[in-house]
Symmetry: C2
Subunit: 456 residues, 2 copies
C-alpha cells in the first residue's frame, strides 16, 4: 500500500513535458489497440479454428503454424521457430462412476484425469472411497486405513481470499503434491476436489507429479458440485468409485517456440520480451490460458509497428511451448539466450487470463522500482495501478538466473479459477475490451522501458 505514495510524489519531480509526451503516446497506444487491435479476432481463430493444443499434439503443431503466420502478419522484421522437445501426455478415454451409499448404484460423474497421470490399464478399478481433508490428516492414517482405497482429497478452494491467485496457491498442492504425499503406499487412486472457485460442476485438470519411484496410481479431479455430494455421502460412509482411464505418458515429441522480432534501432542486441504460452490443456479451447497471452503479445508488436514507433531495443514476442506440463519452451529459450549471450532487459509474460488489467508484477530491484514509480500515474487512466507485487510469468522465470527483470500482467483475478483448465475455458468467456486493455498495458510498459531505457 505504502508504495502508492511514491509515484505521485515523484511525478512532481519528473519533467512535465516528457510526461506529457508519454501521456499522449499512452493514449495513442490505447486508441490503436482498442479501435484497431486484432488480438480478439486472432484469439477467435486460435480457439475456434484450432482449439485446445496440448504439447506434442497435432493441434499444437497447427498452433505453431498459426503463430508464425500471425506474427508475420503483425509486421515483425523476423519470425522463426525455436526447436523444443516436449513430453507427450495422452488422455484417451476416461470414466468415473461414484456410489454414494451402500445400496446406491454407480453413477457417472463429470471428471478429468490430471495431467501427467497414469490410467487404470485395461480394466476398471473399483474400490471404496476414503475422504481426507488435508495432508496432515492423511499423514495420521495407517497403511491399513488406506490400503486399496480411493483417497478423496477434499480440500476446498478458499473463497475468503480477495485475490484468487492466493487461494489457488493455497489449494494447488492437493493437485500437484498428492501423489508425492501418498508415495509408495498402496491405494486404488486419488480423487481430488478441483482447484476451482466455480459454483458449478466443471472438473479442472492440471499437472500432477508422482514421487520418485512411487506407485503410479491414477489421479482424477471432480467438480465442486460432485465433490459436495461426495463429501456429504462420505460423512455417512460406504461410498465407492469405479474408474477406468487410458491416460499416460507417451514419450517425447519435437515442437517449437514461435518467436517474432522487431529489430532495435540503437540497441538491437538488447532485448525486451513479451510472451504467453501457446500450448494449453487438452480440454476447452485454452482461451484465457493462454491464448489470451499469445494474442496480447502479438498485439504489442503489431501496435509498435502500426504506430510507427521505432524501438531502441529489439522487441520480441515469444509464444512458448509446453508451459502446462514441462516448461520445456521457457527453459529452451533461456538456455539459448545464455548460449548466444543475448542480453534481455525485460521479459514480460501474460498468463493470468484475458481479464481487465489492474497492474503488472515484476522482479525490479528497489532502485529500479524507485526509477519506475514516477511513471505509474500514466497508467491510472487505464485502470492499471498495481505495480507493487513481486513476481513474473512461469515461461520467463528461467531467465531470472541471468539477472533479467521478469514480469507478468495482473488482470482482475475473480473469474479466472472458474474456467482455468476446464472445458469452459473458451473464447466466449473472453471479453474483447478486457483483452485489448491488457495488450495496451503491456505495450505501455514496453514503450516506457524501451524509450526511457529504464532497465538498461
Amino acid at each position: 500500500m505504502k508504495k502508492l505514495l511514491l509515484p505521485i510524489a515523484l511525478l512532481f519531480c519528473y519533467n512535465g513535458m516528457a510526461q506529457n509526451i508519454d501521456s499522449v503516446d499512452f493514449k495513442r497506444i490505447a486508441d490503436q489497440v482498442l479501435t484497431k487491435g486484432k488480438c480478439y479476432d486472432d484469439l477467435r481463430i486460435l480457439c475456434k479454428q484450432i482449439g485446445n493444443r496440448i504439447s506434442g499434439s497435432s493441434r499444437a503443431n497447427k498452433a505453431v503454424e498459426w503463430g508464425e503466420m500471425t506474427l508475420r502478419e503483425a509486421g515483425c522484421d523476423r519470425v522463426w521457430l525455436q526447436p523444443v522437445m516436449v513430453p507427450v501426455w495422452h488422455r484417451g478415454e476416461e470414466h468415473l462412476a461414484l456410489r454414494y451409499s451402500r445400496e446406491g448404484d454407480f453413477i457417472d460423474v463429470p471428471m478429468t484425469s490430471l495431467g501427467n497421470s497414469e490410467g487404470t490399464g485395461d480394466r476398471t478399478v473399483k474400490a471404496s472411497i476414503l475422504m481426507v481433508g488435508s495432508f496432515e490428516e492423511f499423514e495420521k492414517l495407517s497403511a491399513a486405513d488406506i490400503d486399496g482405497k480411493f483417497i478423496f482429497f477434499n480440500y476446498h478452494f478458499r473463497q475468503d481470499f480477495a485475490q484468487t491467485f492466493n487461494a489457488y496457491g493455497d489449494a494447488v498442492k492437493y493437485r500437484w503434491q498428492s501423489p508425492m504425499i501418498v508415495g509408495k503406499k498402496n491405494i486404488a487412486g486419488i480423487i481430488i476436489r478441483s482447484i476451482s472457485s466455480g459454483k458449478d460442476d466443471y472438473p479442472h485438470t492440471g499437472s500432477t507429479k508422482y514421487a520418485e519411484g512411487g506407485s503410479k496410481f491414477p489421479i482424477v479431479a471432480i467438480g465442486n458440485e460432485t465433490a459436495d455430494k461426495l463429501e456429504h455421502a462420505c460423512l455417512k460412509g460406504n461410498t465407492a468409485a469405479a474408474l477406468r482411464s487410458d491416460c499416460g505418458m507417451r514419450g517425447m515429441a519435437q515442437s517449437y517456440n514461435v518467436i517474432g522480432e522487431i529489430k532495435g534501432s540503437s540497441q538491437p542486441k538488447d532485448y525486451i520480451l513479451v510472451g504467453g504460452h501457446l500450448d494449453s490443456w487438452d480440454i476447452g479451447e485454452g482461451a484465457h490460458d493462454d491464448g489470451a497471452g499469445c494474442v496480447q503479445s502479438i498485439e504489442v508488436l503489431r501496435t509498435i509497428k502500426q504506430l510507427g514507433i521505432r524501438p531502441k531495443h529489439s522487441i520480441r514476442a515469444v509464444l512458448f511451448m509446453n508451459e502446462e506440463n514441462g516448461l520445456k519452451g521457457g527453459t529452451a529459450y533461456a538456455d539459448s539466450a545464455l548460449a548466444k549471450k543475448e542480453h534481455h532487459v525485460l521479459a514480460l509474460e501474460s498468463d493470468a487470463g484475458g481479464f481487465s488489467p489492474r497492474g503488472i508484477e515484476t522482479t525490479m530491484s528497489k532502485k529500479q522500482r524507485e526509477q519506475f514509480e514516477k511513471y505509474i500515474p500514466l497508467f491510472l487512466p487505464y485502470g492499471v495501478y498495481d505495480f507493487d507485487k513481486e513476481g513474473g510469468g512461469a515461461d520467463v522465470s528461467p531467465l531470472k538466473k541471468q539477472n533479467v527483470v521478469i514480469g507478468e500482467l495482473l488482470p482482475d483475478s475473480q473469474r479466472y479459477f472458474d474456467v482455468h483448465h476446464t472445458d469452459n475455458d473458451v473464447f466466449e468467456t473472453v471479453n474483447h475490451r478486457e483483452l485489448k486493455l491488457g495488450a495496451a498495458a503491456m505495450t505501455m510498459l514496453v514503450y516506457l522501458v524501451d524509450q526511457h531505457e529504464l532497465l538498461d
Copy 2:
C-alpha cells in the same frame, strides 16, 4: 491521480490501533460476504423465478413481494413498502425488416423499440432510409431531404474511451434526444445504432423522449452487426425499412419502493442508505441492471446483522421502483424524506453492474474527502482504489437537494455496455465473486461512515 498521494500520507497520521481494528473489521466483512453471502443466490431467484420487471408489470409486482421477503430474511428490524405511481410503457409485438438495395428483399432483423416510444398503430410503415452520422449533420438537412423517411442515426459507440461510461455518456444522446432533435418534422420513424460496446447483434433498448408537442413517430434500435450492414448499404443507396410495432404508453399504475431498515443504536434518526433499482427493462432478466444493485444492498444489511455490528445510524436498503423510465421511486423517496425531515448522511447506490469493484464515486465536499482519504488504504487489498470521482446513482440523486452526500459503486466497466438493456443481461453474465466483492466494498464504506461518524 494526484488524490492517491493524500490517503497514504494521511495514513501515517491516523491512529495505528484504530486503523488495525478497521482493517480486521474489513476482513471480517469480506470473509462474511465471500464465504456466507447470499446475494448471488438471491440474484438467481430474482432473475430466474421472476425475470425482467418493467414498472407497472405483474413481474414488477412480484419483485416487490420478493424484495420485501428477502429483506425480512436478511434480518431487517423493519421492512415496508413506499407507494409510488409509475408510468406504464407497453411493448407489444414489434417487427423490423430492412431492404439493403433496390432489388433486395425485406429481411427481418433483430430490433427493439426504445422505451417510452410509440408504435406504428395498426399498420406496417414502409419508407426509405436516410443515414445520418450526427445531430449536426441532421440539422443541415432540408425538410424535403427527410420527408417521410426513416432516419437512421448511425453514431458509433466510441471504443477508444478506456472507461465505457464515458463512451456511453458520449453516445446516449442519440437514444434520448433524437426525437427531440427531429421535433415536429415529418418522418416515418427513427432507427438508431444501439448504444452498445458489443461485438454482436444484440439491440439495446432504453428511454427516449419526444419533444413537447412534437411528432410521435416510432423509434427503434438495431444491433451493431445489423447497423454495420445497414451503414454499408446506405452508402450505396436505395435502402428501406418496414416497421410494425404496438408499443406505447398505457397510463399510470400503483407500485412501490421496498425499504428495509436496521435501527441505529445511538443516532436512529440519522440514516445511511444503500440501494439499487428493482425495475428493469422488459427484455433479458435485469441481472446487472439492476438486480445486482438490489441484492448487494440487501447483502449490506445482512452482513451487518450477521456480524453483530451495532450501527450507530439507522441503515436502510432501498429497492427503488422505476429508475428506467421515470425515476418516480427515487423522487418519491426524496420527497418523503423531506416531508418527514429524515436526515440522511449518505445515500449510496449500486447501479453500474455487478462487476469487480474498483472504487466508489461520491459528492463529498473537499473537507469530507480530506477526512475520508486516510481510510482509502484499507480498501486496497480488495482491489478498491478509486475514490476520486464525483458522482452518485440516479435513484439517490433527488436527495442531493437536501445536501445529502450521494455515491455510487464503481465496478469495472468493460463488459457493462455489451449487455446493458438487452436480452443478454441475464444471471449467467454475473460472476459470483465479482458481485460479492461489490457488496463487501459497499458494506465497508457504510461501516466506516457509520462507526467513525464521517459525514455527520
